[in-house]
């Protein structure tokens, strides 16, 4: 009798265990969430994990694993994952690689899910940022996340030593260029070499053209760059060549020159601010950041770009979208902005008094208004590498005096069109 009872209990326990196992398997959803490596470290990781914990609490049976990856690793992993059917469910990347990801089927079209969200939610986001995710009226491939607009970091010690009034930022290119000459005469470097990196070329071009004169016309496979605007840009590179440090804006050496009071200006994104803030605390660096001047007072140069959250097509698309939408929602983006003092695409969060007064955010909000997208239009076709390399090659050749600004612009445009059509 006792043996029978034990057996019955054992079978019951086994059945219960099997049942629970089956039930939990049916309800379990394990999501993979890939982010930039700097989002998976320190305080940023802690906050991301907080978002995950909150979401999982409201969605029992869902588990989310966060993984940090470097830029190229992120793209290569997503492309390879699309080919092998092992895509992460939710992932970040940049708008500039959106077309590659769409072409390999790594990004789900979330248009219907997006439109199903309450109007109040959709209205939280910067309209231009949303537009970058929508190449066609019925297509949407991302939710814009963090972003940046170009900032002009100023080394106040260098400016003061050069006798420049630091209370006012240069309002026009002419004013800025005059300051650069004064700085060089005082024995300092005015700027990094802006002709060495695509984004810094774009930032200077943004002073001279309008957004319709930038990017690619994929219908005709021609560049939108005009000879006049590019010639004016190249002329600026020629003019500032004797004043620059020879380093690119991305070089570590440029940051070191700035920190050690040898470089006056550094046109770049807000990601250098933590380094400069630390230098200010440790070695007394005096700096601030202002908008990149334009040709005329009130206009501005510079570029803008967004990191995005995308969702992979597949059985987890719905829950993955819900998580992406949750992370990009105002409350989360507000916490994110407070933690990192970084601009993001949630306009409602950026307008919140808690962060709107933070200097880096308030200047960034202004910076993105006039800035150009780096490589528009997004999510249409991958930009061939010859496009970016041609822009850099001709810009640096003109800066080095190998050709005039007009020749450089004309040859560059011809070469860009050949690149797009070849």
């Amino acid at each position: 009798m006792k043996m029978k009872t034990t057996l019955t209990n054992g079978v019951a326990a086994l059945a219960l265990a099997t049942g629970i196992g089956a039930a939990s398997q049916a309800g379990a959803q394990e999501l993979q969430y890939w982010v930039y490596s700097d989002f998976a470290q320190g305080d940023a990781l802690a906050l991301q994990q907080e978002f995950i914990a909150e979401f999982v609490k409201d969605h029992p049976g869902v588990s989310i694993t966060i993984t940090g990856k470097g830029d190229d690793d992120l793209t290569a992993g997503q492309v390879a994952g699309a080919a092998s059917g092992t895509l992460p469910d939710i992932f970040m990347n940049a708008t500039s690689v959106g077309a590659q990801l769409v072409s390999v089927g790594a990004l789900a079209n979330i248009h219907d899910q997006w439109m199903a969200m309450p109007q109040e939610y959709r209205d939280q986001f910067d309209a231009d940022a949303i537009a970058t995710c929508q190449p066609k009226p019925d297509e949407m491939y991302c939710i814009p996340y963090t972003g940046f607009g170009s900032l002009l970091f100023r080394n106040l010690t260098v400016l003061e030593k050069a006798g420049i009034d630091t209370s006012k930022a240069p309002a026009t290119w002419d004013e800025w260029f005059a300051q650069m000459q004064t700085i060089k005469e005082a024995g300092f470097y005015a700027m990094p070499d802006e002709s060495l990196v695509f984004n810094s070329i774009a930032a200077i071009y943004a002073m001279n053209g309008n957004p319709a004169e930038w990017g690619i016309d994929w219908d005709t496979k021609t560049t939108r760059i005009t000879p006049e605007a590019m010639a004016a840009t190249l002329q600026k590179f020629i003019d500032i060549k004797p004043l620059d440090s020879g380093t690119s804006r991305n070089d570590q050496a440029t940051k070191d020159l700035f920190i050690t009071n040898q470089l006056a200006y550094h046109e770049t994104g807000p990601w250098v601010d933590p380094t400069y803030r630390q230098a200010a605390a440790e070695s007394g660096l005096k700096y601030d950041f202002v908008l990149v001047p334009g040709l005329t007072e009130g206009s501005h140069g510079g570029i803008k770009s967004y990191e995005i959250i995308g969702v992979a097509p597949g059985p987890n698309q719905e829950i993955a979208f819900q998580f992406a939408a949750y992370v990009a929602e105002k409350n989360q983006m507000l916490r994110w902005a407070k933690l990192l003092s970084r601009y993001n695409a949630n306009a409602a969060a950026m307008a919140d008094p808690e962060v709107a007064s933070l200097p880096l955010i308030s200047v960034s909000v202004e910076a993105v208004k006039d800035a150009f997208d780096t490589q528009p239009p997004y999510f249409v076709q991958p930009v061939p590498s010859c496009y970016t390399s041609t822009v850099i090659d001709f810009a640096s050749a003109a800066a080095d005096g190998e050709m005039s600004a007009e020749e450089g612009a004309a040859e560059m445009i011809a070469e860009l069109n050949a690149c797009l059509q070849g």
């Binding site: 190229d72 590659q100 050496a253 020159l257 970016t388």
Partner: protein
């Protein structure tokens, strides 16, 4: 009966053969298949015959990459082996702690991760105030833009590669030097040979199998050069090869076409072209060696 006799042998080689087939043979065969297709890894592959090969062979980037590669190999391989040989002879002349010290110092660049080596050299090459340009400045020489002056970039890379690879080759050559019987040197000395004559008539002939290995390995490595120029030029999938493609090499071009342009069929064809070049060079090396041995 025979099958049963050899069963343990088959079982012992089976793990290798399975892994070799799955991770080596299959990718090669599927890569060869895709090289004749237009394929972006997501949509079904479309057969396009030899179009990928035609596209690559007709592209300026391929021409540029192959030209850079040829120049790089012609300089790097002999310079790297010569440097390693010199270092090995130098280390061989020391004994005890000093030998161990120099061996470790010269081998150190080999164990450095490529990104660290590239970061160090980006610093050394910085215009105006990098280490090299500071030294130039002391002698009143103008600053050189090592990583952006197209006339200098390739040589900047070669210096880094020789620095990185010399230690590895040195260790192999050093092992070869240690295996040369001392009697040969004694005999040479008795015959009145100078140290230089001993080097030419004893060391180098006795080292020929080792030098052949180092040369072959160096050539194959050079043909696949990728990480150091990629890092020195701050390349990404959307922009690689440095200014005017002065540091563009075939593997970089292949990676860019694959992950930047999402043209995996083209990238596969590129890989096969490169494989053909590597196999031809290697076969050529072995043929020359066999011919010399027959002589």
């Amino acid at each position: 009966m025979l099958k049963r006799k050899y069963l343990p042998h088959y079982l012992m080689v089976a793990p290798f053969m399975v892994l070799f087939t799955v991770f080596f043979l299959y990718p090669i065969v599927s890569g060869f298949f895709y090289s004749f297709h237009k394929w972006n890894a997501a949509q079904p592959a479309v057969f396009i015959g030899l179009d990928n090969y035609r596209t690559i062979l007709g592209s300026r980037d391929f021409e540029k990459a192959m030209w850079n590669l040829a120049t790089y190999i012609v300089i790097t391989v002999p310079l790297g082996i010569g440097t390693a040989f010199g270092l090995a002879v130098l280390v061989d002349s020391f004994t005890g702690r000093w030998a161990a010290f120099f061996r470790s110092v010269f081998f150190l660049p080999v164990v450095l991760p490529a990104f660290l080596a590239a970061t160090i050299w980006r610093w050394i090459y910085t215009p105006n105030f990098g280490l090299l340009n500071m030294i130039f400045g002391w002698f009143g020489l103008p600053s050189v833009n090592f990583l952006n002056d197209t006339g200098v970039m390739l040589y900047s890379l070669i210096a880094v590669d020789v620095w990185v690879s010399a230690g590895f080759n040195m260790v192999i050559i050093l092992a070869g030097l240690k295996n040369i019987p001392q009697e040969l040197y004694e005999a040479a000395r008795l015959d009145g040979a100078t140290r230089f004559q001993q080097l030419i008539h004893v060391t180098i002939p006795m080292m020929s199998p080792v030098l052949f290995f180092v040369l072959t390995y160096g050539l194959i490595s050079a043909l696949q050069v990728f990480d150091v120029p990629w890092l020195l030029t701050g390349s990404s999938f959307s922009n690689y090869g440095g200014r005017r493609g002065a540091l563009l090499f075939p593997v970089m071009d292949m990676m860019g076409r694959g992950f930047g342009g999402v043209k995996f069929g083209e990238a596969a064809a590129y890989g096969f072209l490169l494989t053909i070049v590597i196999m031809t060079v290697t076969a050529g090396m072995f043929t020359i060696r066999a011919w010399r041995e027959r002589k």
